[in-house]
C-alpha cells in the first residue's frame, strides 16, 4: 500500500470547495496527458463523490471532505472520504435519485469502484481511472493499492483548506490552480490572483529541495481579500531562503508579493506563514 498519496486535499464540505477539487484534478489531468474525454470522466465522477459528501455526509453540518489522489503504475486512484454518515446508498430503491444517481454515474465512469466504511466512521469511495500509456510520472504504488487514511486527519475546520503534494511535476500543475481558485473565492482581483500564482510557482518549484520529508503541505485560510498560507514543516532555515527564492535577489517573489511573512518554529523545523491581501480597489 502506498505510504501517502501524491495529492491530498482536506477541505470543509462546502459546495464551493468542489471547484477547488476540480481545479486540482484538471491540473493533474494535464500532467498525466489525459485527453478531454478522460478528463471529463474523471472530473464528473469525482465531482459526484464530492457532492455526496457536501450534501449528505454531515446532515447539514459542516465536516471535512478529503480527497486523496494516487498515481499508480497504470491508473489514477482517487479516494473521496468523509467522517460523517457518508454515502447513503438507497436501500432497495426502485428508482435512482439523489445520491443513488451520483453512485450510478461513478459506477459508469470509473474503471473500478469500491465503497468502504473505515473503522473510525465515515465513508470512502475509491475510484480508479486508467492512465494512458507512456505517462512518465513515477507511480507511488501498484494498481489496486490505493490506501486508507495516509496520515493524521486534520479535524480543525473553519475556512481552512489543506493541500499536501508530493514533490513532482504535479505540485507545479496543481498548487497554482488550487491557490488561484481559493484567491478567486477570496474576491481577489485578477492582478492579485496572478501574484498568488507566482507565489504558488515558487513554492511548487522549491518543493523538492526545501521541504522536510516527502511532501509539501500548504494550509490556506481565506477571508474576503485575504489569503493566509502556512507552508511547512520546513527544515530549519528554509523559510528564509524560500522568501527570497527565484534568481538571487532579482525577483524575490514571496518577499515582494506577500503583505506579511513570518517564519515560526514548529517542532524541530519551521513554518513559513504568509499573508496576501488585495488592498487595491477596495
Amino acid at each position: 500500500m502506498p505510504e501517502s498519496p501524491n495529492v491530498r486535499l482536506n477541505l470543509p464540505n462546502r459546495p464551493e470547495n468542489v471547484l477547488v477539487v476540480r481545479q486540482a484534478l484538471t491540473g493533474l489531468a494535464g500532467v498525466l496527458k489525459l485527453d478531454a474525454i478522460d478528463t471529463n470522466d474523471l472530473n464528473t465522477a469525482v465531482t459526484e463523490a464530492c457532492n455526496n459528501v457536501v450534501m449528505h455526509a454531515y446532515g447539514g453540518e459542516e465536516g471535512p471532505l478529503e480527497v486523496d489522489v494516487y498515481v499508480l503504475a497504470s491508473a489514477i486512484a482517487v479516494v473521496v472520504r468523509d467522517h460523517g454518515v457518508g454515502l447513503r446508498v438507497p436501500a432497495g430503491a426502485s428508482e435512482i435519485a439523489g445520491a443513488g444517481m451520483g453512485l450510478a454515474v461513478i459506477g459508469a465512469l470509473a474503471g473500478r469502484v469500491e465503497f468502504a466504511r473505515p473503522a473510525d466512521g465515515g465513508t470512502e469511495v475509491r475510484m480508479e481511472f486508467a492512465l494512458p500509456r507512456g505517462v512518465t510520472l513515477e507511480p507511488v504504488g501498484e494498481d489496486g493499492e490505493c490506501g486508507g487514511p495516509g496520515g493524521p486527519v486534520t479535524t480543525e475546520l473553519s475556512s481552512t483548506v489543506e493541500v499536501r503534494l508530493a514533490p513532482s511535476p504535479l505540485a507545479r500543475a496543481i498548487l497554482p490552480r488550487v491557490l488561484s481558485a481559493l484567491a478567486a473565492r477570496a474576491h481577489f482581483s485578477m492582478d492579485r490572483i496572478s501574484d498568488v500564482q507566482l507565489v504558488a510557482d515558487v513554492l511548487a518549484a522549491n518543493a523538492d529541495q526545501s521541504f522536510d520529508g516527502s511532501h509539501l503541505a500548504v494550509g490556506v485560510t481565506i477571508a474576503p481579500r485575504n489569503l493566509e498560507l502556512r507552508i511547512g514543516p520546513l527544515q530549519a532555515g528554509r523559510g528564509e531562503s524560500l522568501m527570497v527564492a527565484a534568481a538571487d535577489g532579482l525577483a524575490p517573489v514571496i518577499d515582494r508579493l506577500a503583505d506579511a511573512k513570518r517564519v515560526a518554529p514548529t517542532g524541530s523545523g519551521e513554518t513559513l506563514e504568509l499573508r496576501l491581501v488585495d488592498q487595491r480597489g477596495a
Binding site: 471547484l19 476540480r22 481545479q23 484538471t26 491540473g27 485527453d35 478531454a36 474525454i37 471529463n40 470522466d41 464528473t44 465531482t47 459526484e48 430503491a93 426502485s94 428508482e95 435512482i96 435519485a97 443513488g100 444517481m101 450510478a104 454515474v105 459506477g107 459508469a108 465512469l109 497554482p176 490552480r177 488561484s180 481558485a181 478567486a184 474576491h187 481577489f188 482581483s189 485578477m190 492582478d191 492579485r192 490572483i193 496572478s194 501574484d195 500564482q197 507566482l198 510557482d201 515558487v202 518549484a205 527564492a245 527565484a246 534568481a247 538571487d248 535577489g249 532579482l250 525577483a251 524575490p252 517573489v253 515582494r256 487595491r280 480597489g281
Partner: protein
Amino acid sequence: MPTVAANPPSTRGTTPAKADDSRTLFRRWQRDRDAGAREALVRQYAPLARGLARRYGRSSEPFEDLVQVASLGLLKALDRYDVDRGHPFASFAVPTILGEMRRYFRDSGWAVHVPRGAQERALKVRDAQERLSNERGRAPTVNQLAEYLEFDIEEVVDALQAIQAYDTLSLDAPRPRADGELVAYGDTVGHDDERYELVELDATVTAVLGHIQPRERDILRMRFVEDLTQTEIAERVGISQMQVSRLLRRTLEQLRTLAHAS
C-alpha cells in the same frame, strides 16, 4: 424522480403503483410496440437524461445538443432494458446514456473542440478584463468577470490557467489603447529606462539577466522594483494584464532554471 405527469391516453384509466406502472409500460413498448407506452416512458425518464447531460457535459456547448444525445441514449436503454431481471431501469439507463454521450464526444471531435472553446473563453476573459479595468480603473475580480460574461466562476478560473498555455495566440500583437491608438512595445517603454537597470546586482545575476529579453526584464523590474500592479504594467507596455501574468510566470521559471544551472 418525478412520476408520470398524467396518465397517457392509452392507460385504460388505471393508476397502479409506479413500479408496476413502469413495468407495464415497458412490456407494452417492448412486446407490443405500443408507441404511447414508449412516449410515456420517455416523458417519465426525460429528467434523468437531462440531468446526466448536465452532470457530464458541463463544458459542452450547445447544451441542447447534448440533451439530444442523452435522449437518444435513453431510447436505446428503453429498447434494451430487461424488465424481468428486476434491476431498476435507472441503474441500467445511466451507463447506457453516459456511454452514448461519450461516444458522441469521441465521434464529433469534441475532445478537439473543448480546448478550442476554452481558448475562446480565455480570450473573452482577457478582453472583458481590459474593458472592466478601463471602465472602473481597477482590475476586476473573478466574480465580476463571471457576472459580466455570464460564465460560471469555474470557466473564468480555467481561463486564468488556459491563457498561460497559449504561446501561439497573437497575445504579443500590438494592442489598441483606451484612446484607440495602436501601440507596439517600445513606443511605451522609453530607452531611458535602461538607466533604471538594477544597480546593485552582482555578476551572476547580470549574467543570468543577459538571457532575458529586454521587455521581460522591464516587466520584472516594474513589478518587483517599482511595485506597479500587473494592470499598470499592462497599460505601460501595451499588452493585456493576462499576458503580463504569463510573461512574469514564464520569465521567473526561466530565471529559476538558469539559477539552478549556474
